[in-house]
């Protein structure tokens, strides 16, 4: 009986995901756009000094070591500076993608334009939604984070990072787009490198920032659809395009 109840629950979940997927496709009129449902990954408390050691020169292509947040008992230990997870892994850029796929089971999607559909936006901060995006011969990481910069006022921060060096990242421009309820919000910027610290990008507010009320306006049934596009950058002409 329990088995059948679980099966029924799983079927309901699948129908729900399928429905969300359909709605995201409709909103983004996804001609050729891949819609990916992204569930929240973790909700560990971020240590405020997490980025303290991230100012080390990162052009050498080696990610700084990460430590389990749960295991930080010694206050002298520097918390994780890995872009995403509180994990003890360290390694070269070339193996970051396989590490993220195998150890953290982060999906990787192909295509110039994709739709990132983050579910369960109501979950308490801090929460991350993460996906990898393979495009133009490189891999990118989209991080959506719900975090309380001001206590009691969670905000959403979205940024794109290149799994590559900062100088490689300068060759690209990413665009994040929200579109719902007769409102549209677009953010375009140069991606940061994963060798930089995602925490500092977010604490600097140098990314797409949404207050809870705005996130709710753009959400549909607890899910937020973000259209993502990556292009090679035309830095010098960009500011004269408008």
């Amino acid at each position: 009986m329990l088995f059948f109840t679980q099966c029924f629950g799983a079927v309901l979940d699948l129908i729900h995901l399928r429905f969300q997927h359909y709605k995201a496709k409709r909103v983004f009129s996804a001609a050729g756009q891949l819609v990916c449902v992204v569930n929240p990954t973790h909700s560990l408390k971020y240590a405020p000094t997490r980025c303290a050691a991230a100012q080390v020169s990162t052009e050498q292509g080696i990610l700084p070591p990460c430590h389990h947040h749960e295991a930080v008992h010694d206050p002298q230990l520097v918390p994780c500076t890995c872009p995403l997870f509180s994990c003890p892994w360290e390694g070269h850029l070339e193996v970051v993608v396989s590490h993220l796929r195998q150890t953290h089971r982060i999906n990787i999607l192909q295509g110039a334009e994709i739709v990132f559909l983050a579910t369960d936006m109501h979950l308490p901060a801090p929460t991350d939604w993460i996906i990898m995006h393979s495009c133009l011969g490189h891999q990118f990481l989209l991080v959506l984070r719900k975090q309380e910069k001001y206590e009691g006022h969670p905000q959403f921060f979205a940024t794109m990072m290149l799994i590559g060096t900062p100088s490689q990242a300068n060759n690209f421009t990413y665009r994040l787009e929200l579109n719902r309820n007769q409102r549209r919000l677009k953010w375009e910027a140069t991606p940061r490198s994963v060798l930089e610290c995602v925490d500092s990008v977010i604490s600097d507010g140098d990314c797409l920032v949404l207050n809870t009320s705005l996130a709710q306006l753009f959400s549909d049934n607890g899910s937020l659809a973000i259209g993502i596009a990556i292009t090679t950058s035309k830095v010098h002409s960009s500011e004269a395009e408008m």
Copy 2:
């Protein structure tokens, strides 16, 4: 001597404004775009209950009465619900434009696309920057407000309001665009009517919201250039355009 010193100061101010104007034109590659330098208008403390009386039906086309904030001694008096100023004026929609021009000396600009250059972004909250925009046979009001929703953390809120009824406002779409330092942020929405309360639009966060750090990234020498465009709305096709 004092006269010459003052003249010299005025000339310096003019040169500074001209320089800002030139820079805004350069950033927005203003082919045909009018750049308007907008100085902050006032920095009165907003009463938290200012919008309490704004829920009155507003389709009748009469603005609710406004009272001087400075003169509110009786706690039973409802603070100003006029969209902008703590002023005692009340009147019909048809005369709002002339009231704003004559009494409050708000500039009015013509053109489908203009650049709003707000100066002195460093001034403490609350501060407003306001301009009227005449376009497509109607007048619109752009309000940029610096306000502390969370104490000690000022944010910038920008919205566009139609000097007309809510049903007239539904026929338009406005776009606000920031473009600097290889970053671009666009907000598109249906304007609200001035008969609604600008305070509630801002407290709901249903507008372009900038944290101080992001505002600094988009600012140039203390001034923020916002590109404004207004179009007749295509509500039904808007969400399928992407």
